[in-house]
Amino acid sequence: MNIPPLTRFHHVLAVLMLVFSLAAHSDPITASQPWLDALNSLKQGSMPEREQAIMQLAEIKDAHNLAILQALLDGRLFTTKTDTKLVIGIDNHQGFDISDAVSGAALGAVDHDALSKINLTNKMRGTLRKIIGELELSADDPAVRLAAVKAMAKEADDRVLDLLRGRADKEADPAVKEAIKVTLLLQDMDSPDKATRIMAIEALKAKNSQEVVNRLNAMVEKDESGEFVEPDEDIRNLAKAALININNRLQLYSSVETVFFGLSLGAVLVLSAIGLAITFGVMGVINMAHGELMMLGAYTTYVMQQLMPNHLGISVLLAIPAAFVISALVGIAIERGIIRFLYGRPLETLLATFGVSLILQQSVRSIFSPLNRSVATPEWMSGSWQINDFLSLTWNRFYILVFCLLVFVLLLQILKRTRLGLEVRAVAQNRKMAKAMGIPTARVDAMTFGLGSGIAGVAGVALSQITNVGPNLGQAYIVDSFMVVVFGGVGNLLGTLVAGFSLGIANKFLEPFAGAVLAKILVLVFIILFIQKRPRGLFPQKGRAADS
Amino acid sequence: MKTFAENLFGEDDKLKSSVLADGELDTRHGPILYMEDVSVSFDGFKALNKLSLYIDAGELRCVIGPNGAGKTTMMDVITGKTRPDVGSVFFGQTIDLLKMDEPAIAQVGIGRKFQKPSVFDALTVFENLELALKADKRTWQTLFFRLSGEQRDRIGAVLETVGLSAFAKERAGILSHGQKQWLEIGMLLMQEPKVMLVDEPIAGMTHQEIERTAELLLSLQGERSLVVVEHDMEFVRSIAKKVTVLHEGTVLTEGTMDEVQNDPRVIQVYLGG
């Protein structure tokens, strides 16, 4: 293309040399003065100077570059506070194992406090990613290569394009190959040769890439003077056709996305309501402390993470049984201490549990402070499952959805298959008869309430992954929880599930038209009107028992 | 004020018109109450299965049948509590009960005493009767309601009849089971219905009280029609001219007590079922 071949050659050479020098890691290095200077200003300079230093580092070929730059990007590049030496640290959970950034020599372990981090700005991070991308284009891991290609494609100048072209032939991984191909095709859209352009558009039509949409959109736009940006009408029409083609797919993806959003919102609703479906639905206790039991579950997750800060993923998993046990125990305590005196007076349970909720809230405020607590999301739950440029499903929501279904199925099995479940259902249907048949109703009550509370705790673990962990957590969900249970039909677990999901999806489909607030209002009004039609919810309890 | 109120709560106009449109109670051509081919099912269980029943004006009819035969459901259908899947229920010739709800049915003249005595525990015996008293039962009229001397006398008379004069000022909650039964019968009397549906009137009563109940019911027939559901065969025998036996939601047989008792099907149902 229109770049002097010599320059291009130089660039390639430079990068190649970098790559080579990386390969030759074990070679003794003689650190050059400019390189040391660059490191020095990286260490001490102001933000703009640091930015310059990074650029300089990239130009100077040094074997340690990748390690240093990567460490810088990851926030593992420090200066020691005592002798302001530039070191790379590896977190060993008590402190850092550090090594000299210049020589690579291990310097042993130090405290967190002994180091100060070299901070970055967004701009620097962008630059770093690009530089590292170039360095990593030939990495072994295809995922790293893909990330590298994507980072480079963002600022695809000619040098980058050449690099990519070079890589395209060698690349074996289809995903990486595809990414390179799209980047190159996009370049072809600006080609002076009309045939190349047409070919590029035709080829890109089938790709799900936002970049393609942007470029096509730009082609059919008019500029300020009302002239088309793209003078060639054939190309314009072709671009229009391609856009229609892509937009159809976009629409499909966007509905899929909305359904997913709705399901995941529904999953949160179901999770927060399902414990209530037991304490309220099965036992008839208007449990205003339900939200606070969820809050306890969320705080349990926080405590678990504090106990094992090095194993985030495991701590979240372990938090599930822990939260269940803690909330269940608190639930049993509430039942034994208060609620058992109030059976047959459901409205009074509302009052007493309201008192309990105030106490639980304030306890948490006293113990953990009124501030929100930070609960980290484990690696496997963060980010999203990128299906293509137009459709990605966030992992945390996805797991919560799966988790919700698991909890539901498990609960159903407990109620259907176990002795406890049988007793629970017996007591719910006819307390006196159950008692007469020798079922220890007091124990069953405690266990049932414990079960419902425990599930609330488990829901709290899930909530800790998407929202605030603070004293107000419970209150934020209590109203919604009651709505879901009532909408589904009190005493019917399946109803709760269906209600949660349908309200979630309805909300998400309304949101684009009505906005978040109005959507919620509409859903509430819908519930009110629906209850007029079916005064006992979606799945009413049937038979004579329901009448009384 | 009144017109505004009536506009606001003018529900009873509708009620009245539904009665008036169909004309006054018309029993010239036969029974005062009839059900034809009425079926009700709950979750696939047929509580009533093509039940047909005709009650004549002034008749005292006893309905018997084993548990689950559909006796209570039958009453539920007549009083509007349960809607049948198919069939028709008429009061006289012209009043279609299926088009009306419970209060409307009660107001056109069908009264009901429940199986479980249901009186208002928080109110006094007198107030219980006062509530049942035949009167304008719209909201504003109820708010400004004052007992006339005549009405007061009538309540007194009923109190006398049911033997609760001494308890007039007591809360109904303190009454014994049998007294509550009486009170409910009293409330039924206050309504001055044309048809009285009486579900198990003598449960929890002493022998003496049973006799008085029988007397009372017998004294009412002719002037009113009565449908009595009862398990106690002796009691039924003491009052019944005509007995209907229900089984599995349909009429098994009808006739005098003797006829019915000798019917092999009835014996089969009661003993073999």
Partner: protein, 434 residues
């Protein structure tokens, strides 16, 4: 006979607490050897999250002042009450502080609505309120001193930075639906338009308080930002809604490098409740960061950690505002030689007090103060790194110049104007309660 006894008994039983209550309402005879300072921050309810820290800050500052020998030879005494995040209760408690406890000044409020609720009471009883939170402006009361940022001390510099230094072309203005975001966004919209940003390049979105499901909105932002033009989000999202918002941003892959979010309501304390890893690089605009390296700030942080007995607690902007407000009040009282509100109100104008981040804050005639504006990027340790700051202090402007209806209005509490709402065109003072 029985009736009268029972009657008397019942009366005694019932009237006793009522009488006690009535007595309680009368101001207790209070010793004149202390100067009382009211602390009006919610300690329970939804706002406790933010406000409890400010209560502790005030207790610390008062404690410190007492160690220095108090004020005018008297000890200071903090009177702490809990308005429980209930807006009418704020007014009631303010009245209680001023009439029952006779406090010399009140430090308190966080939300605008709580300030609005308290305002008539403070004005009626001629009290003094120091309000430490950034807010929407459009107000200047004789009795209130606004030590937080006005919109021109936070929002506009932030947008300038995004536009000039990051080359942002497309703007999402996302906020919680209440008056502060509404005003800020209105000002910003006007400002952006004056900078030739087209309407289609501005997306405005409002959400309710505590909004927790951000999936659709973040997806929209992502779409809006995917057109190739550099896009940024200016967030006036309040309080609890932030955590789920940032979590969703992180999970949907909206990184600070693609679409930076600059927030006006997210400080160190809010970050301490968020897993900051996915947030690294997002921005906030404040007048104070804990990470700013000055000796004053280091001293303040040390003092705070000692007071609160937790070396992990952070400091934040509203705390600094109280720090400045309190020291200004102390200086003004010393200058006036009395805690009399009129004298203090007069004396405090022009009083200077050092910022923790350097420079001297000054109380302006419009009851706002001058402040530096800092823009910081979030780091994974929950701190901010200052990436940009104004080279001089900016004076707080009560009435925004970017809103047509308030452009001609100024506030000046010095003679001859002596008005919080003075129209320079009509030369009229309006909207005042005196």
């Amino acid at each position: 006979m029985f009736n009268t006894i029972a009657n008397k008994f019942a009366k005694k039983r019932l009237l006793a607490p009522i009488a006690a209550a009535a007595i309680g309402f009368f101001p207790a005879a209070h010793a004149e050897d202390t100067i009382k300072v009211g602390v009006l921050h919610s300690l329970s309810g939804t706002m406790a999250i933010s406000e409890t820290t400010l209560k502790d800050t005030m207790l610390m500052l008062i404690d410190e002042q007492n160690k220095k020998g108090g004020l005018l030879g008297k000890k200071l005494e903090a009177v702490v009450v809990d308005p429980a995040s209930n807006w009418p209760l704020f007014a009631e408690k303010a009245r209680e502080l001023l009439t029952k406890d006779k406090v010399a000044a009140i430090f308190g409020c966080w939300t605008s609505v709580s300030r609005k609720s308290v305002l008539p009471v403070i004005e009626e009883l001629n009290g003094i309120l120091f309000y430490p939170v950034q807010y929407e402006g459009e107000e200047s009361s004789k009795n209130v001193f606004y030590t937080g940022a006005a919109p021109n001390q936070q929002a506009i510099p932030a947008v300038d930075y995004l536009m000039n230094d990051l080359g942002v072309k497309r703007w999402v203005l996302a906020g919680t639906d209440y008056v502060y975001p509404r005003t800020t966004n209105k000002i910003l919209e006007a400002y952006l338009k004056s900078k030739k940003v087209a309407k289609k390049d501005i997306m405005i979105n409002y959400t309710p308080f505590g909004h927790s499901d951000w999936q659709s909105i973040v997806a929209d932002i992502k779409k809006f930002g995917s057109t190739g033009k550099k896009t940024a989000v200016v967030s006036t999202i309040n309080g609890d809604a932030n955590v789920p918002f940032y979590k969703e941003l992180g999970n949907q892959g909206v990184s600070a490098e693609n679409i930076p979010v600059v927030a006006f309501s997210v400080g160190e304390e809010e970050l301490s409740g968020i897993d900051t890893k996915p947030l690294v690089g997002h921005l906030a605009a404040w007048n104070y960061f804990m990470s700013v390296d000055t000796t004053k700030n280091a001293g303040f942080i040390k003092q705070w950690h000692e007071y609160i007995k937790n070396p992990k607690r952070v400091t934040n902007d509203p705390m600094e505002a109280h720090y400045i407000g309190f020291s200004m009040w102390v200086k003004a009282v010393e200058k006036a030689g009395t805690t009399d509100p009129d004298a203090v109100q007069k004396a405090i104008i022009g009083v200077e007090s050092p910022n923790l981040t350097g420079g001297m804050a000054k109380m302006l005639p419009n009851h706002h103060i001058s402040k530096p504006v800092l823009i910081g990027e979030i780091q994974d340790d929950g701190q901010f790194v200052t990436v940009w700051q104004t080279n001089k202090l900016i004076d707080g402007d009560a009435w925004s110049d970017y809103l047509p209806e308030s452009k001609p209005i100024i506030a000046d509490w010095t003679p001859p104007i002596n008005c919080g709402n003075y129209n320079t065109k009509t030369k009229k003072c309006s909207g005042q309660n005196y």
